[in-house]
């Protein structure tokens, strides 16, 4: 386990809520992404991850991480989902039809890799020049067409195109090491 990770674990064991919050914030979205792949439901996914962190804090004194904090967290989410899935299986035994759609076998390594990519993504995104970031978000997060973005930001379509190109280049370079 990395030195930095050991420090974090020690801090949390000593009830350092700031470190705990930092941990939460770094892993929450990616872990939810994983849980989402397994459970196919966003609310449920968030519930599972929240539960994992809740229990982690509750039992912090007994916290034992051997390989890495990251795999510990992903495995914890996996176990939560598995537990939920088994519980649902029992419920469904008595139901007339299967309603729970799950994918417990979704590859955890893939999920962890995607999580890493997400950190890179966030870093690149925050380093983009403001207008470039704006254009990119309007296009990807909000699904706007180029001419709609141009109108909203009072810039030309050519500028929108150029900014998207800039963003693509930045992400391409950022992801280069990981893909």
């Amino acid at each position: 386990m990395q030195k930095s990770e050991i420090k974090i674990v020690e801090a949390i064991k000593k009830s350092n809520i700031k470190e705990y919050e930092k941990l939460f914030r770094s892993y929450y979205p990616a872990l939810c992404g994983y849980a989402l792949k397994v459970l196919k439901n966003t609310d449920l996914a968030e519930e599972m991850v929240q539960e994992v962190f809740y229990i982690l804090w509750k039992n912090r004194e007994r916290l034992q991480v051997s390989v890495s904090l990251k795999s510990y967290l992903y495995k914890a989410v996996y176990n939560k989902c598995l537990h939920y899935f088994e519980h649902k299986k029992v419920e469904e035994k008595y139901a007339s039809h299967v309603t729970f759609n799950y994918n417990i076998d979704y590859n955890i390594e893939d999920a962890m890799h995607t999580g890493e990519l997400y950190s890179v993504y966030k870093r690149v995104l925050n380093n983009l020049p403001e207008r470039c970031r704006n254009v990119f978000k309007l296009s990807r997060n909000y699904g706007l067409k180029y001419h709609e973005i141009a109108e909203k930001l009072s810039i030309s379509v050519k500028t929108v195109e150029a900014n998207m190109g800039k963003a693509l280049k930045a992400f391409r370079q950022g992801f280069a090491e990981y893909q």
């Binding site: 979205p29 995607t114 997060n141 190109g165 992801f175």
Partner: protein, 332 residues
């Protein structure tokens, strides 16, 4: 063969990817025309696909989630409240203020609606063409009162991570508290974000004004992402051009259009008439300049326009002259 210095047309690539249908064939791409090698082309395609994957993770609101977790830990006495009080207020401000989430501004006449991960369509647009306030019940139990010539666009169901609506004109919002789904209003270039609270939003011309009745609300400039202010009851936020300002609310009668209550405390008559005109959608004017500064102190509660005119004329010994749709108050 000497290799040409690579000048890759990322702009062209991005444009192509944006318009490309990934469901269908992804292999027939002429990477040559973009000045890229086959490897570079593949790398760009992978990048684009990864960006799609990132969307799935981006939808999760970490600030909100942390707020919930922290509250739960507190409620279950798992954290030292004293120590963590500072943290709570920092986090609340953080999530109340607009982070880097970009919102689309809406012009006065567009009917376009922003969705989060809900896809397109399935929206209701309610317009109030009458003079009476129009009540709109939203799918989450929130109630919106639309002023005259105002329009509200909202989805049939709030299935996304946020409850997002769009306003043209003026409305009073009574938002149902739901910590798991922040409520947002897009009005002109402003973005109003709230937990559960009641407040008035008015988008006039190209500016936006927000006055808070209860709770806490944030107003942000969608063109300047980090530019936002938080408003509490008694405060008024105004976003005009790119100027965002907060002041204490001196507009006593900002809700008169809705509740019919008008309160005047030694207000100059010409100013009082502005509120009266807005409330009754009429045009009352003063016959002479001297009447402008006459101070009026009175409460009108669900009175008719005639009753209001009568009260004013009696108080200042004036008479009402009506010409067409205008009322003019002159000395007796």
């Amino acid at each position: 063969m000497k290799r040409k210095k690579q000048h890759i047309d990322y702009t062209g690539l991005a444009k192509m990817f944006a318009g490309h249908n990934w469901e269908s064939d992804t292999n027939l791409i002429n990477y040559d025309i973009f000045g890229a090698s086959e490897n570079e082309m593949k790398a760009c395609m992978d990048t684009w696909k990864t960006l799609d994957k990132m969307q799935e993770i981006e939808q999760f609101d970490t600030d909100n989630a942390w707020g919930k977790l922290h509250s739960r830990l507190e409620n279950d006495s798992l954290i030292d409240t004293n120590k963590s009080e500072k943290i709570i207020s920092i986090n609340r401000n953080k999530w109340m203020a607009v982070a880097a989430s970009i919102i689309i501004l809406v012009g006065l006449f567009s009917v376009w609606f922003v969705t989060n991960n809900n896809g397109f369509g399935n929206n209701f647009a309610v317009e109030n063409t009458n003079f009476e306030a129009k009540e709109v019940n939203l799918p989450d139990g929130s109630v919106v009162y639309l002023n005259t010539h105002s329009k509200l666009t909202y989805p049939k169901a709030f299935t996304a991570k946020k409850r997002s609506v769009e306003l043209d004109g003026e409305a009073f919002f009574d938002v149902k508290r739901d910590e798991s789904k922040p409520f947002e209003i897009i009005a002109n270039r402003g973005l109003v974000k709230v937990l559960g609270t009641s407040f008035n939003v008015s988008s006039l011309g190209s500016s936006v004004e927000v006055i808070v009745k209860t709770g806490k609300v944030s107003l942000a400039d969608t063109k300047e992402l980090t530019h936002s202010i938080t408003l509490i009851p008694g405060e008024r936020g105004l976003l005009s051009e790119s100027v965002l300002k907060k002041e204490s609310n001196d507009r006593e009668n900002y809700l008169s259009w809705l509740d019919g209550n008008l309160v005047f405390k030694a207000v100059p008559l010409n100013e009082a008439l502005v509120d009266i005109n807005n409330t009754f959608h009429c045009k009352i004017e003063l016959g002479s300049k001297e009447l402008d500064t006459l101070p009026i102190t009175t409460n009108f509660s669900n009175n008719t326009l005639d009753e209001v005119l009568e009260a004013i004329s009696l108080a200042f010994d004036l008479k009402v002259e009506k010409t067409g749709k205008k009322y003019i108050l002159v000395s007796n």
